[in-house]
C-alpha cells in the first residue's frame, strides 16, 4: 500500500527518530511510504491557543500538501484529531492504520525491556484508540508491559497550557511522573511526541525514572538498543 506520512512539525524538528521509526516499520511491513514535502504543521497549536486565522491557513496548507493521497498516517494522536475535525484528509493515527486498515498486531518487533503505556488524552477520548496501541505492544517479543496507575489522567501538557498555567501543569506532571516511576518500567511509551516531551522532561529530573519513547520506536525496533 502507498502511505503518505504526515510527520508533524514537532517530530520534524525535534524528534525525527519518531518519523524514521514510522517509515522503518511500514517499509518493513512491505508498504511504500511517501513524504509530501509541502507539509509542515496542522494548525492545532494555533487553533487551541485561540488563533483561528493562522490555524485555518495551516489546515488548508496541510490539506493541499496531501491532496490526492488516499491513505495518510501520522504518529501523533492530537494532530490526527485536529486534522479530522478541520480537514477532509483520510488521515489515520499509526495504531489505527496498523490494526484497522493493515490488520496487523504483530509487526515483528523485538524490544527486551519493561514498558508502561500512557494513553494520551487525544488518543483516549478524541480518537478512541482504545487498546489498539496496547495490543500492538503486547505482540512485541521480549517486551514486558507494566500497567500505569491512573492511566486516563491527563499529563498536564495541553500545548500552551504548560506555559500559561505552568504551576498547575507542573503539579499534574509530578503526579504522572510519580505513577510512571512507581511502575519500575525502563520506558514510558505514548502516542504523541508533545506529551512525551513534557513527561520526558519531567522524568529526566528524577532518579530511576523510565525513559520516554514513542510507541512507533518500539514497533520499529528489532533488538536491544534501537532507540535513544
Amino acid at each position: 500500500m502507498r502511505i503518505a506520512l504526515f510527520v508533524t512539525c514537532l517530530n520534524d524538528a525535534f524528534f525525527p527518530r519518531v518519523g524514521i521509526a514510522t517509515v522503518t516499520l511500514l517499509e518493513r511491513l512491505g508498504h511504500t511510504v511517501t513524504f509530501p514535502a509541502g507539509q509542515s504543521c496542522c494548525g492545532q497549536l494555533h487553533a487551541n491557543t485561540g488563533h483561528r486565522a493562522p490555524a485555518r491557513d495551516l489546515e488548508r496548507h496541510t490539506e493541499a500538501a496531501f491532496a490526492g493521497h488516499d491513505v495518510v498516517v501520522s504518529p501523533s494522536g492530537s494532530c490526527v484529531a485536529h486534522l479530522r475535525a478541520h480537514t477532509r484528509l483520510p488521515v489515520h493515527e499509526l495504531s489505527e492504520l496498523l490494526v484497522d486498515v493493515l490488520r496487523v498486531t504483530d509487526v515483528g518487533a523485538r524490544f527486551p525491556y519493561r514498558v508502561t503505556y500512557h494513553p494520551t488524552c487525544h488518543g483516549l477520548r478524541m480518537l478512541r484508540l482504545g487498546d489498539r496501541p496496547l495490543r500492538l505492544l503486547a505482540a512485541v517479543r521480549d517486551l514486558e508491559l507494566l500497567p500505569l496507575p491512573e492511566p486516563e489522567q491527563c499529563c498536564g501538557f495541553g500545548g500552551t497550557f504548560a506555559l500559561k498555567n505552568a504551576a498547575v501543569s507542573g503539579a499534574m506532571l509530578a503526579d504522572k511522573c510519580a505513577h510512571a516511576v512507581a511502575t519500575g518500567a525502563d520506558y514510558l511509551a505514548a502516542a504523541d511526541s508533545s506529551c512525551l516531551a513534557h513527561i520526558g522532561g519531567g522524568l529526566a529530573r528524577r532518579p530511576d525514572a523510565p525513559r520516554p519513547v514513542h510507541y512507533a520506536e518500539i514497533l520499529a525496533a528489532t533488538g536491544p538498543g534501537a532507540t535513544g
Binding site: 510527520v7 512539525c9 520534524d12 524538528a13 525535534f14 524528534f15 525525527p16 518519523g19 524514521i20 517509515v23 513524504f35 514535502a37 509541502g38 509542515s40 504543521c41 494548525g43 497549536l45 487551541n48 491557543t49 485561540g50 488563533h51 483561528r52 493562522p54 490555524a55 491557513d57 495551516l58 496548507h61 488524552c121 487525544h122 483516549l124 477520548r125 478524541m126 486516563e152 489522567q153 491527563c154 498536564g156 501538557f157 495541553g158 500545548g159 500552551t160 497550557f161 504548560a162 506555559l163 500559561k164 498555567n165 505552568a166 504551576a167 498547575v168 501543569s169 507542573g170 503539579a171 499534574m172 506532571l173 516531551a197 513534557h198 520526558g200 522532561g201 519531567g202 529526566a204 529530573r205
Partner: protein, 480 residues
C-alpha cells in the same frame, strides 16, 4: 446587543486564573482533601452510570431537549409564565442581577420579615442575593448543610454541589464550636456534626415565614418548579413557610412534564453518584391548605439570551449543574473552586462565567485557558456539552496578547511555505548545535532557559532541535 450584565458579581474573577491557581496549589492540605473527595465521587459516578445500558441514548435525548429549549427560549418563557400564573403563582421577569435582587428584596420586605430560609441555589449565588438582602437588613439562612458551613465561615462555595468540599471535618467541628449557637460536641464524627446542624436548622425552619429557592427544572407546559435535593431541607423550605420565592434561570425550562423522566435519571447519577436522590419536590402554583400560600417565580435572564445567540457557546446553557465535570477535571482537582473566582468553578465555570459577564469583565478572559483540553469533562457531561470546543471558541473570540498574536502569525507564515519552513528548521538546528554539546550531560536536554521558556524549564527539561531534521533525513535516504 445589550451590554453584558453583572460586572461586579460573584461570577467575575478578581485575579488572573494562573496566579490564583498557583496560590491554591501551595495549600497541600487543600490538595489532599480535594483529591480524596473528587476521587470518591468520580468512582461512585462511574459505577452507577455503568449500570445504565442506555446511558448514551439518555444523554443524546437530554441534549436534544435542551437544544430545543435554547432555540425557543422566549416562547417557552411565555408558556411557563401563563401556566404558572394560571396555577396561582406570580411570575416576574428579571433582565439582570440588579433587577432580580431588587425584585426579591421588595417581595421579602412586603412580608415584613428580617429573615428568610434558603434552599441551595446557584442562580441566587450568581446574582449575589444574600449580600443584596443583607444590605436591606434581611438575613438569609442557608439550610443545606455544606452551604451552611460555608456561610458560617464567611467563606464562598468551592464546588457546585459540595460547596464545602474544601473543608475537612476537624475544621467543621471547630467552626461549629465558634459560630453555631448551642453547639457543644467535642467529636468530629460526621453524624454528630450533621445532627448538630439539624437541631440548629429545625429551630430556624419552624420560625421562618419566607423561603427562597431556585429550581433544577421548570416545566413550561404545567408551570411547575422541580427541586432535587438530598437532605430534606429543601422540602421543608418549600412547604413550611407561607411565602416561597423562586429565582430561576430561564435555561432551566423544559418543554413538557414528560421530559423530566430522562433528566431525573441523569442528574443524581451524574452529581452525587446515587441512583436516585432522596427528595424530589414539584411545586405547581398554590394549593389551598397545602404548602406556601404565596408563590413568586423570578425568571432570570442575566446574559442567557445573549449566550443563546452564540452558535457555539450556547451549548453551555444546557448545563443542569450536576458538577460531574468538576469531579473529573484534573485542573479543578488540584486547585479547587476558589481559583476560578466565580460561584461557577471548574470546566463549566470556565465556559459559563466569561459568557455570562463578557470576557472583558475582571480576569474572566483567563478562565478559558484553565484547561489542557483533555476532554474528561465532555465524556461525563450528562447533556453532552462539548466543553473543550467551547473553551477553544472562547479563546478564539477573546482578547490575546499582541506579542502572542505576532508570534503565531509569524509561525504560520513560516510554516505554510516549504522553503521558509526548511530554512527555519536549519536555523533551529544550527542554533541548537552549541546547546546540544553543552547539555550532553543531561541527555541533550535543556535544564534552564530564559523567559518565556523559563515557564517550561521551571518544571521540566526542554528538548533541543535534532541534529538532522526528519525532512533532511528523508532527503538523504529516500529522495535520490
Amino acid at each position: 446587543m445589550t451590554p453584558p450584565p453583572g460586572r461586579h458579581l460573584p461570577i467575575v474573577a478578581a485575579t488572573p486564573f494562573p496566579r490564583a491557581a498557583a496560590g491554591a496549589l501551595r495549600d497541600t492540605q487543600l490538595r489532599a482533601t480535594l483529591g480524596r473527595a473528587t476521587r470518591t465521587i468520580r468512582d461512585k459516578r462511574a459505577a452507577v452510570v455503568a449500570e445504565v445500558p442506555d446511558w448514551e441514548r439518555l444523554r443524546e435525548r437530554a441534549a436534544r431537549v435542551k437544544e430545543d429549549v435554547i432555540d425557543r427560549l422566549p416562547e417557552l418563557v411565555d408558556q411557563f409564565a401563563r401556566a404558572a400564573t394560571a396555577a396561582g403563582a406570580s411570575v416576574h421577569h428579571a433582565a439582570d442581577a440588579a433587577a432580580a435582587n431588587a425584585l426579591v428584596t421588595e417581595l421579602v420586605r412586603a412580608r415584613g420579615v428580617d429573615r428568610v430560609v434558603k434552599v441551595k441555589s446557584m442562580a441566587t449565588q450568581e446574582i449575589g442575593l444574600n449580600e443584596a438582602l443583607a444590605a436591606a437588613g434581611v438575613t438569609a439562612v442557608e439550610t443545606d448543610l455544606a452551604e451552611l458551613i460555608v456561610q458560617l465561615a464567611d467563606d464562598t462555595p468551592s464546588h457546585i454541589l459540595v460547596p464545602a468540599i474544601h473543608y475537612h471535618r476537624g475544621q467543621i467541628r471547630e467552626l461549629f464550636a465558634r459560630r453555631m449557637p448551642g453547639f457543644s460536641a467535642d467529636s468530629d464524627d460526621p453524624a454528630v456534626l450533621a445532627g448538630a446542624a439539624r437541631e440548629y436548622l429545625r429551630r430556624t425552619f419552624l420560625s421562618a415565614r419566607v423561603a427562597v429557592c431556585g429550581a433544577n427544572f421548570a416545566v413550561a407546559e404545567t408551570g411547575s418548579l422541580v427541586v432535587v435535593e438530598s437532605e430534606g431541607n429543601g422540602r421543608m423550605c418549600l412547604t413550611l413557610p407561607d411565602t416561597l420565592i423562586a429565582v430561576v434561570g430561564v435555561e432551566k425550562l423544559l418543554p413538557r412534564f414528560t421530559d423530566l423522566g430522562d433528566f431525573l435519571r441523569l442528574l443524581p447519577r451524574s452529581s452525587t453518584g446515587e441512583r436516585m436522590n432522596p427528595y424530589t419536590s414539584i411545586v405547581t402554583g398554590v394549593t389551598p391548605g397545602d404548602g406556601p400560600r404565596r408563590l413568586h417565580v423570578v425568571l432570570l435572564d442575566n446574559g442567557r439570551r445573549r449566550i443563546a445567540a452564540d452558535p457555539v457557546g450556547r451549548a453551555a446553557l444546557r448545563c443542569i449543574r450536576c458538577s460531574a465535570c468538576l469531579n473529573v477535571c484534573p485542573v479543578y482537582e488540584r486547585v479547587g473552586g476558589h481559583a476560578y473566582g466565580s460561584v461557577y468553578p471548574g470546566p463549566i465555570g470556565a465556559i459559563l462565567s466569561p459568557q455570562l459577564t463578557g470576557q472583558d469583565a475582571g480576569h474572566n478572559a483567563t478562565l478559558p485557558y484553565a484547561s489542557t483540553l483533555c476532554g474528561a469533562c465532555y465524556d461525563v457531561c450528562p447533556v453532552k456539552i462539548d466543553i473543550p470546543a467551547i473553551l477553544v471558541h472562547l479563546r478564539q473570540t477573546g482578547p490575546k496578547p499582541a506579542a502572542e498574536r505576532a508570534a503565531m502569525a509569524w509561525l504560520a507564515w513560516t510554516m505554510r511555505d516549504r522553503r521558509r519552513w526548511r530554512a527555519a528548521l536549519r536555523t533551529a538546528r544550527s542554533g541548537g548545535r552549541p546547546l546540544r554539546v553543552l547539555t550532553r550531560r543531561h541527555g541533550g536536554r535543556l535544564r534552564r532557559a530564559p523567559w518565556p521558556l523559563s515557564a517550561w524549564t521551571a518544571h521540566r527539561d526542554a528538548p533541543l532541535p535534532a541534529g538532522e531534521s526528519f525532512r533532511d533525513w528523508w532527503r538523504r535516504t529516500h529522495d535520490r
